[in-house]
Subunit: 374 residues, 2 copies
């Protein structure tokens, strides 16, 4: 069931079989180095989100550049990271059920493992699993600061939950998970800042109440690629979880260009390489990459390199192209690079990263946690 | 990189880890038997589409019920099917590029392999690959009968292409690939029939022109779950490719209930099992299955078993539930079955089918061609 890679190291990038997930290594390394520099300039830590890349190979490079560890959403992702040598992993999510909690506790015997909670019964269940394995697990309280998904209400409810964690035999209270997911995709720089300022006030109030109760937050962690500059500069968060920055995508590109954007110097490093497989009419062609190769939850992919060519529709295995009057001559077999609309779920569709530099395949990284959904 | 299964055979279905891809085996077997009976009653053949299930285990059951073989979209899928013992595979799609064509030709040494074309140069390339491997490949001409994607214009262009195939040393002309993809999701029974009647006229005209040129169509193949009754009854198609019927999904369910629907007796057999991982407010809960577990290209998944509970939003790893006044009490750890909006890309997100019957896990089938995109 292990799918072969679509390329061999040393081959010309143009010969890579398609659809394939390409990483422009120069752009990727630029992004990793730039984020490390930005984060350091703010004096906060960076714990990149592995939900984006699902790869110990990417994680090791982020950590080599200064990241303190990784965060992820699933126990299966944490397992792949720890197996790949990552020693500090925060599951920035709720983990429910005995089977999953046993796996989490087993992992905590091998690496520093944190997890988030928004429910008192879940705290008891995590402690019971940690007891079964003789493990210690760091537990953070997730607060809902505007995303309207998981998390307790900031303030008193968070303090109550933190006290339960602090009292549990095999748990330590690690601080707050405070991620404003909705704010990442607000287009205006100013509006995004307003959303994070508002969230920050809720976080600060909760940190203060915890402090008054004698509970220190080792971590106040959150932020994404769309907002990290605001959390970093707030004096409230001390750890950033931005992950998409290393690849970028067409959705985040829509945030670019506004005055004050720190991250408009990140470069698109992730592409889906596709082949023209049909050219049935002068103004139409079809690629071999549909929505099983590039996710469409955030819109259709974009064409990277060709003028007046539009990716107009995705079916399971086909991408339809509309060729405008300014389009270049297209022929069967031509390779086309797509910019995914959303990097995370696109990566999850593939088994291999094909790392390219100077027109040559330099490396192949497995997407080790692809499908590690539970 | 092989992801462990979320269940063990013999365990209670309620204990399956989540998110997981469940197959209700009774419903699945009902669907397979019912389709076999329907197809036989029309006196046509059935070649179910493996793009839906990507599994030799499913394919073998369809063939045991009477199907003549399988079709698929990718060489990688064909490889998995042939490795799993399937001896007759039609790639109902264009295959472009030397690497892929070499793999296709190699496969044709092991099984009966067909492929579709809509380009004269592609015919030459396929023949060259077949020559390199000393293989014989059956080649069908794909005609565009209203889907507006791949395929040549019906009639003369198809005849020209068929002549080239017929003249090629290592190819045999197999007939016509004639699939009206757009018609599958037209909601009205009558409008769907009109679309297929119109398509049928184009197919018939092409078959007649081929016949006049001395080229017989062994196969006139196409149709999907939304329209197969019309193709089957047309006297024009002699082979049906319907695949989704074995699982069904929320999108095809929208076609049900119209008078004359043969397929409204198919049952939903495919589910994504999810767990309530957060219940932050009385009217809201969160599942551990977002659009990395159930595709949203055809809309959000539906809740199978709970009244007044709506799946209101999918993010990568989370599904948001809105709990209405009539909703049952929901608690952390509760399992919820989702009906995928679109079965094919949902299956492609998972590594294992968990086959359940009578509340017990009876079988585990690998989704062998998951990610076999090239």
């Amino acid at each position: 069931m292990t799918i072969r890679p679509p390329a061999e190291i040393g081959m010309a990038a143009d010969d890579v079989d398609t659809p394939a997930l390409l990483v422009d290594l120069d752009a990727f390394e630029h992004n990793v180095a730039l984020m490390a520099k930005m984060v350091a300039s703010f004096g906060v830590n960076h714990r990149p989100h592995a939900k984006t890349h699902k790869s110990a190979d990417v994680a090791r490079r982020q950590i080599a550049a200064g990241a303190v560890g990784q965060c992820c959403q699933k126990v299966g992702e944490a397992e792949v990271l720890v197996a790949g040598g990552i020693q500090d992993v925060l599951v920035s999510n709720q983990i429910v059920g005995t089977r999953k909690l046993n796996r989490l506790a087993a992992l905590a015997k091998q690496a520093r493992i944190g997890v988030c909670v928004d429910d008192a019964g879940n705290v008891e269940d995590i402690n019971a699993a940690a007891q079964r394995f003789g493990a210690k697990i760091e537990v953070l309280v997730e607060i809902d600061i505007g995303a309207g998904r998981c998390g307790v209400v900031p303030g008193k409810a968070a303090v109550e939950l933190a006290k339960r964690i602090d009292a549990a035999s095999n748990l330590s209270f690690g601080g707050l998970q405070a991620y404003q997911g909705r704010a990442q995709h607000i287009r205006g720089h100013g509006e995004r800042k307003v959303a994070i300022d508002k969230a920050g006030a809720l976080v600060k109030e909760t940190v203060d109440q915890l402090s008054a109760a004698g509970l220190a937050c080792r971590l106040v962690t959150g932020a994404g690629t769309g907002t990290f500059q605001f959390e970093a500069g707030s004096g409230i968060w001390n750890e950033l979880q931005a992950g998409s920055y290393c690849f970028m995508d067409a959705d985040y590109a829509l945030n670019l260009g506004e005055e004050g954007e720190f991250f408009d110097t990140f470069r698109q490093s992730l592409f889906v390489l596709a082949t023209v497989m049909s050219h049935p009419a002068k103004d139409r062609a079809v690629l071999d990459a549909g929505h099983k190769a590039a996710s469409i939850d955030s819109g259709l992919p974009r064409i990277a390199d060709l003028a007046d060519v539009t990716y107009s529709g995705a079916s399971d295995e086909h991408g339809s192209l509309v060729l405008g009057p300014g389009a270049p001559d297209i022929k069967l077999g031509d390779k086309v690079r797509l910019i995914p609309s959303h990097c995370d779920p696109t990566v999850n569709l593939h088994d291999w990263y094909v790392g390219v530099r100077g027109g040559v395949v330099e490396t192949l990284w497995p997407v080790g946690a692809r499908g590690a959904a539970f």
